[in-house]
């Protein structure tokens, strides 16, 4: 009934360890469905097959893990691209994307209104207050594009920062007009409160919007290229497994999120990437530049490696 | 007034039976540690005797009686360090129906009477020991109590000032019908200012002597002290005290 680090990793198999610079990896993850791939890879022995032993470390938000990454306490982290690109842009670290992680699936994110709310259509959102987890993050970035596509002026929206556990009370208390929810809250809000979906922020121009990935530093990558490749393969293989098998995901969710089996069966999962694609990631960087969240353009291709998994 | 108490934590006084008439000036002498200060605190209602009773004007003392003033033995600790000397003296006058100016004047007058006219604006810690003691006396005098309890009030002042203060107490008593209980170690003083001198034994205290002082009024530092009765009484008190000393 309580959280903590799940220590489900299997011991490394001796045969596959050949040639890797490093076999024991510490990876910071988030307690969110998005980071399921790493747990599935552990659970299904995919890392083991590559000769890796991976220990996940749950952190609350990406900015906290960055100092750990810089200091070398962890080898890689699961972080959202907006934060990571910002950090790269401000030279807090030299970014290297090791493997793509999650992309927004239809209905995995949602702008919702309570049943008795006057908000019915996206247009009604103008001038309203909407929560985000952190200001200036991917939530805002995607919604801005989708609102524009829906002929709503994004500049009129007031964003307030509300931590995860306080979204429901602020929404019910009328402090926010519409809620920007992710899974599993979308499912829960629909089921328990009869909330209505107004808009899917991951639709239209923001369809399959890349959210988070596994990243490290350029230095680390230069020192451990083979390990990086092995890691990328394991994550991509996990992505493939998860693409058509909800069960493997549902099984690991209780290990690192507070989602119980019953909820796990009904929530909408994001897409878990099984290859790396610089084109769709470039979109994120470009939008950030447009929003002036970056000081200069980022060529995402130079930060990524080609996909090596079969 | 009957003081027959054994105060809370320490059995200081036992089987003590003592009464003071209205308007009387009673002096109490007795060996160090015998319970004089404790007795005074009982009279003031500051501690409740575990046995026995204290009556003031026929009423049982449960609380502090009205119109009472005390000069504590530990005068320096009884002054408030955050107030100027004048404010210290004026503070109790808030209980009287006096406006600010009247209080200030009364305080100033009392300070003058103890020879501290210039010290009103100083703080207690800026005064010498004897001056602090006189501030405590001034505070009690300014209050014009009907019952005044003084615990070794002149212990820290020089001989001349002491005599002046003795005469001041006598004068004030005459003007404002006051009952005074005065504890002193100075046998001459007890006889000189007292209408009656009570000598206590060492702890647990009981009365070993109760002498009426019938010296002619008004008393005078020269003539009274030469009076044969004075010399006699003083010797008598001395004998009683010495019979019960501690060392």
């Amino acid at each position: 009934s309580s959280g903590g680090d799940p220590n489900t990793s299997a011991p490394p198999s001796a045969d596959a360890a050949g040639g890797l610079e490093k076999t024991q990896l510490k990876i910071a993850t988030l307690p969110a469905i998005d980071s399921a791939a790493i747990y599935v890879a552990i659970d299904q022995g995919l890392f083991e097959k590559e000769g890796l032993e991976v220990t996940p470390q749950v952190v609350q938000a990406a900015p906290e893990a960055i100092p750990m990454l810089v200091k070398g306490e962890i080898d890689a982290m699961f972080g959202n691209y907006v934060s990571m690109f910002a950090a790269h842009d401000k030279q807090a670290l030299k970014l290297r994307i090791l493997a793509e992680g999650s992309r927004a699936a239809p209905d995995s994110l949602s702008i919702m209104a309570l049943p008795d709310s006057p908000i019915k259509t996206p247009k009604d959102l103008e001038g309203k207050t909407i929560n985000v987890n952190v200001l200036h993050n991917f939530q805002e970035l995607a919604l801005t594009q989708v609102l524009k596509a829906n002929n709503v002026d994004p500049a009129t929206i007031k964003y307030v920062q509300v931590t995860f556990q306080n979204i429901m009370p602020s929404w019910k208390g009328g402090q926010i007009d519409a809620a920007y929810l992710g899974e599993p809250m979308v499912t829960a809000a629909t089921a328990t409160m009869g909330a209505r979906k107004i808009l899917d922020p991951a639709s239209g121009p923001a369809a399959e919007f890349p959210i988070s990935g596994y990243v490290g530093t350029q230095e680390w990558y230069d020192e451990n290229p083979k390990t990086a490749a092995a890691f990328q393969r394991a994550i991509h293989n996990a992505g493939k497994l998860m693409a058509n098998n909800r069960e493997v995901v549902a099984k690991v969710l209780p290990n690192f999120t507070q989602i119980d089996a019953a909820t796990a069966a009904t929530v909408t999962f994001p897409y878990f990437s099984s290859n790396d694609n610089p084109v769709r990631l470039q979109r994120v960087a470009d939008w950030m530049l447009e929003a002036k969240w970056l000081t200069k353009a980022i060529d995402v291709k130079t930060l990524m490696s080609p996909t090596t998994s079969g | 007034m009957y003081g027959g108490g054994t105060p809370n934590a320490h059995h200081a006084i036992e089987g003590l039976n003592l009464s003071v008439a209205e308007g009387e000036l009673l002096c109490i002498v007795g060996p160090s540690g015998c319970g004089k200060s404790t007795l005074l605190r009982s009279i003031a209602g500051l501690i409740t005797p575990t046995g026995g009773q204290v009556k003031v004007e026929g009423n049982l003392v449960r609380q502090t009686p009205d119109n009472l003033a005390v000069v504590f033995q530990d005068y320096s600790r009884s002054l408030f360090p955050w107030m100027s000397v004048a404010d210290n003296v004026a503070l109790p006058l808030r209980r009287k129906n006096m406006d600010k100016r009247q209080r200030r004047e009364a305080a100033q007058e009392a300070l003058e009477s103890v020879g501290l006219e210039g010290a009103g604006r100083k703080y207690p810690f800026q005064l010498s020991g004897g001056m602090q003691q006189r501030v405590a006396i001034a505070r009690a005098l300014a209050y014009r109590p009907t019952l005044m309890l003084m615990d070794e009030p002149f212990g820290s002042v020089d001989a001349q000032t002491r005599e002046d203060l003795e005469d001041l107490v006598l004068k004030v008593r005459g003007h404002h019908q006051m009952t005074i209980v005065l504890i002193t170690h100075d046998i001459d003083e007890s006889v000189y200012v007292g209408d009656r001198v009570v000598v206590l034994s060492k702890a647990p205290a009981h009365v070993v002597g109760d002498l009426k002082v019938d010296l002619p009024a008004p008393r005078d530092q020269i003539s009274t002290r030469e009076h044969p009765d004075f010399v006699h009484l003083r010797a008598e008190v001395g004998r009683l005290v010495r019979g019960h000393a501690t060392v």
Partner: protein, 271 residues
């Protein structure tokens, strides 16, 4: 703990005093119960007190919760002890050597208001993120109450008491250790009592903010991010933290009364 206060009252018996305490606690619990049951506060976010307490008691048997609790208690204890060990000598130094006080005050007063939230990433960068991270933040925050109370305590020492010892030829250090320290000790202990509360808050808060590893704060964090949030679990965790605070305070008060009997008796207090 009744001083001879505004008016002298006979001290209440221990039984009366305990029943008063219980009454106070019950009234508080009843208030929460009422707020929740009447719907004045949404019961989903403020569950009734009875439910919280029941949940808290069942948690006690949960081994995972026990581990969380022990980790937090350890971080708390280490942090508080370090803070005391650092702050008392430092306070004595600053409180008795004006030149050092003058030299360091600007720096100290500059560092002091920097909130630990802002420091979390920087501290992580400098000393890492293990237990030492938590302990460092706890020490940083709980240092100040002890330091300030030590300095103010020293200032309150009767100068005559110091003069007495000096007149016997004792040096400044002896005067400090034999007069200033004991005389301000009761006030320093109040500082420690304050710091104990601050340390507890910081321990749990850092855990909540960091949201990883073990600790009551982590437990609370995870209960918070569940959907829907497990408010009963959060408040059950809070309940134990609060109770721990009460116990620590009671212990320190007890120590104070034993160690500084002179102080309390002199004030005419009765246990």
């Amino acid at each position: 703990m009744s001083a001879q206060t505004l008016s002298p009252v006979r001290p209440a018996s221990p039984a009366t005093r305990w029943s008063r305490r219980a009454a106070g606690a019950l009234a508080f619990a009843a208030l929460i119960e009422l707020l929740s049951r009447t719907g004045l506060a949404d019961p989903e976010f403020l569950p009734p007190a009875s439910e919280i307490v029941v949940r808290a008691v069942t948690l006690l048997a949960d081994s995972a919760f026990q581990a969380h609790a022990l980790t937090s208690a350890l971080a708390w204890a280490i942090g508080l002890c370090l803070a005391a060990v650092l702050a008392v000598p430092l306070g004595l130094l600053l409180g008795s050597v004006p030149i050092i006080d003058a030299a360091t005050r600007s720096v100290v007063e500059f560092l002091r208001p920097i909130p630990s939230v802002a420091l979390i990433p920087l501290v992580a960068l400098v000393i890492g993120t293990g237990l030492q991270h938590r302990v460092a933040l706890v020490v940083y925050a709980s240092l100040w109450p002890i330091l300030y109370n030590t300095m103010y305590g020293l200032r309150g020492v009767d100068p005559l008491a110091k003069e007495s010892l000096r007149s016997y030829g004792f040096g400044p250090l002896s005067v400090l250790l034999r007069v200033s320290l004991p005389s301000s000790a009761p006030f320093i202990l109040t500082g420690v009592r304050l710091a104990a509360g601050v340390a507890l808050i910081l321990t749990v808060s850092t855990e909540i903010v960091a949201g990883r590893g073990e600790g009551i704060g982590v437990f609370i964090f995870f209960a918070g991010i569940a959907v829907p949030a497990r408010m009963t679990d959060i408040l059950a965790g809070v309940f134990w933290v609060g109770l721990f605070g009460v116990a620590v305070n009671a212990l320190l008060v007890w120590v104070e009364r034993r160690a500084f009997r002179w102080h309390h008796e002199q004030l005419g207090e009765r246990a």
